[in-house]
Amino acid sequence: MENNNSSLSGRARAPRKPKKSQIPYAILVTILILGLGLYLSSLGAKLPAYLIFGVAFGYVLQRSRFCFTAALRDPWITGSTSLTRAALIAFGLAAIGFTAIKYNSVLSGADQTLAMEGVAPIGLPLMLGGVLFGIGMVISGGCASGTLMRVGEGFTMQVLSLAFFVIGSLWGAHDMTFWNRFNENAPKIFLPDIFGWFGGVVVQAGIIVLLYIAALKWQEKKMGSME
């Protein structure tokens, strides 16, 4: 393509082999996705929507290189917290929307509200699982969503780790009979239950702001810059 000298290294480059545009393949895959969506719509009304959301998440993850693993890992490795702070922003924004939807479902007076949707028990399995997952995502170079995204990008290593993720899930599901014993008395804590709807939002926002400040301070200490 270009044959310019890099201003930093200042050396002449050898001409590169001609590049081939991959856009035609991109168009083919787009057609494939649309076809799959069409097929799914014949199976169930909501199924194509799952595909659209999946593609949207894949698009955002790939284009922004947003990575939950790096958000939790980079503070330890380089001291950078730029992704940690971005993740906090995602948490804060999503919480506002989720809470609004939940509050609306409670106000509507339905028997089955959405209030406790996504609220999980805090027990030993959660904590142990967190440590295991944390180790796994760092050494395999990607978390659950990141692994899927990298499979799409063509990483053979992540294809392997996805396969063993599936095996590990099956193994974990098998052992849940054992682990669930520790969840019997584990509390499910929904913040608005303790602080009220408004108080819950304030507490959550407070946690996020404090963590954001802590992340800035951490990076300044480790890297000498908040940028």
Binding site: F57, A94, G130, G134, G152, F164
Partner: protein, 182 residues
């Protein structure tokens, strides 16, 4: 034809839209937006790993195994999901969507390349990491999406607790990586 697409690929606006990465904060805002919309439409937040357990169950069953006695798959809903198969399971479709979405973006950017495994240590890291993630995700009822992102968004205290232990795990993982996998 190739000339046309090459030209298009080098067009400044196309490059900006399809090639140059979005900022991390831009990604965060979009992920939050899509997760909220997901919750609004399906009345459940985004998750990745529980569908992967279903994949495991289907593969196990195709080898003649039976998971119906496991308490994890015992509920009627779980049995129904397993009986209906892959293309009726929203979570599985969504995961396929993530792979396809990432693939199509990489192709539009002309940056697709099969990246081969380079060293034995990468094989060990991928196997060990995959197993730990799969097992850990089942214990915690989710991964960094379901038990972290969606849980915190759902105002569940469990999300923050999970975050603390994930960070501890990431610390241990970083040390292991520096020692054995570099």
């Amino acid at each position: 034809m190739n000339e046309f697409f090459k030209k298009l690929g080098n067009q400044p606006i196309y490059k900006r839209l399809m090639k140059e990465p979005l900022t991390y904060v831009g990604g965060a805002v979009l992920l939050a937006l899509f997760n909220i919309a997901h919750f609004g439409l399906f009345e459940s937040g985004w998750g990745v790993s529980s569908a992967l357990a279903n994949w495991g169950a289907w593969i196990y069953q195709s080898f003649g195994g039976d998971v119906s006695s496991w308490s994890y798959f015992a509920s009627e809903k779980a049995q129904q999901t397993l009986a209906n198969g892959f293309w009726m399971d929203g979570g599985s479709i969504r995961n396929v969507g993530i792979i396809l979405g990432a693939l199509v973006c990489t192709l539009y950017a002309s940056q697709f390349k099969i990246k081969k495994i380079k060293a034995v240590r990468q094989v060990v890291a991928a196997i060990l990491g995959g197993l730990l993630m799969g097992y850990g995700a089942r214990m915690a009822h989710g991964c960094n999406i379901g038990a972290l992102f969606t849980a915190i968004s759902s105002m569940s205290l469990s999300g923050w607790v999970f975050a603390i232990f994930l960070m501890a795990g990431a610390f241990i993982g970083s040390k292991l990586l520096a020692k054995y996998f570099m």
